[in-house]
Amino acid sequence: MTEKQPVISIRNVTKRFGNMVAVDNVSIDILEGEFFVLLGPSGCGKTTLLRMIAGFEMPSEGQILIGGQDMAGVSPNQRPVNMVFQSYAVFPHMSVADNVAYGLKISGVAKPEIRTRVDEALELVSLGGLGQRMPDQLSGGQRQRVALARGLVMRPKVLLLDEPLSALDAKLRAQMQFELAELQDNVGITFVTVTHDQDEALSMACRIAVMNKGDVAQLAGPSDLYEHPANRFVADFIGSVNIFEGKLTVDEPEQAVVDCPELGRVFLNHGVTGAHETTVWVAIRPEKITMLPAGQAKAKDSPDGHNIAHGQIKGLSYLGDVTVYEVRLESGRSIRVSRPNLSRWDQEDFSWDDKVSLQWHPTSPIVLLS
């Protein structure tokens, strides 16, 4: 496999608004042809970063290179990127075809070519034949497709998408997640998407940069983010997780033990980075915990008294495919456990106030240093 070239290089970029630091010394390389997602809670600086790539904001410090060219002082209309705005920003006084043709007209492309390229673009986003419609005759989903086509028709190096699916209803969003990923695969243009929705990020992205308070908390692929989060923020932000504070009491190359006052002793069958006796955090995903009636738990592959906990069910929510239980541990802390409903009667196994035992595999806990 040949090394892919970065199409966008963000180098030590900082952006300040007055005293507020929106983006704090961020460096990211976005590779040719990938679907890159900037994920984070609102106010984490992800939109500011996107707007700096588009040229609507200038970095206070640092450099942004697109296709190897420094973009300092290059205005938005000169940059080889196009953007799909959160509000779609479809021009209401132009027909669908005129909207899509706008960029080409401005850059002086010949009329016959404009027509074929507009038709192609509309076909690509499955709006073929709707070119003469006005935007107010379109649904929200269709308007978004117009915005997509309007960007794609310019054949940009990179297409930037600002919260592209946030205005759509849940069903349509799920469908568009899939379609966007497929579209990106078809056209081969690099997509950079900003979102606060982790499902959206996980389902579409090649790589995700999780941002927190202007900083990149972790940059990795979807499954790495979920299974190997780098810190508590990422573990907590992506999916659901139980986090317990503890001390590293055994720290050997092939095994480790973390003693958590609120959970018990957690055994891992692999070494961890972290000094002996230091404070660490153990994160366990709800679906990686097995729940059994009280007394029946017997942790396999773990020494006696490790990777086992006891408690009482204090709450449950039945979600159809899984049921999520809130279990009050003996320490008083609550822990979340999810259980797939593999047969149609599984949800009847446990109910409120049942005493239960919990166990997990030595590979399940994640040890976090920060």
């Binding site: 938005p76 920003a89 006084h93 006005m134």
Partner: protein, 278 residues
Amino acid sequence: MSLFKRTQIAPLEYTRRLWMRAWIAATLFFLYAPLLVLIAFSFNDSKRNIVWRGFTFKYYGKVLENDGLMAALGNSLTIAALATAFSIVLGTLAAVMLWRFRFPFKAGVEGTMALPIVVPEICMGVAMLVFFAKLDWPTDLPWPLNLSAITIAHITFCFPFVAMVVRARLAGFNKEQEEAAKDLGATEWQAFRDVLLPHMKPGIIAGALLAFTLSLDDFVITFFTSGPNTITFPVKVYSMVRFSVTPEVNAASAILIFLTILLTTVALKLQDFTKATA
């Protein structure tokens, strides 16, 4: 009873209540009765305006033959057209400036711009008179340059109306549209022309209508800035009324009313058209 009590009147069906209908009728009567009387008596075959003596069109003929009145109408329309054109440009630019930029004393600028709207017309009139006298503004220029003083005065009180209406329209503009245009390669000017201007258009048309009618029927300010050769339609009608209110005055006023209604309708139709294609 059965006529009114056919079905129970729902709480929000105000227009089915008798007292409400009476109120609406009274309002309409109060608003339009004087105008209807004026128009009706423009067809009265009598020198006096008091007793109905039969139907005639002759006063309309007289109006059209009255060279002084026709010249005044020509002056009024010219002034209104010029004042509207300048007001559109000035008002729109002022609105865009106030909407887009932040600058020191912005609130003060916004306030002083609205001043011509609230200052009593009589003060504006006197101020204009003193201003043009101090400047020694030439009054003996050939037509239409001799209308310049009145036109300038009209622009002064017309353009704030355009600015206000357009500013209100701009408040609802999605700035992402302008950014989208620039993102697609448009320059500042192209984005203004292709995105911002179409959005402002209904506001500009409404502002232009306001400006045109305000200018057309302004009396007080015009009275102070007009000379013997620059009589406008309202000023001329006023001088005719001083002798007696003949049906000729009625006919002249009726013509002005028809003209205004026609222009307003055309403008509104135009606006509908732009909305339909928007």
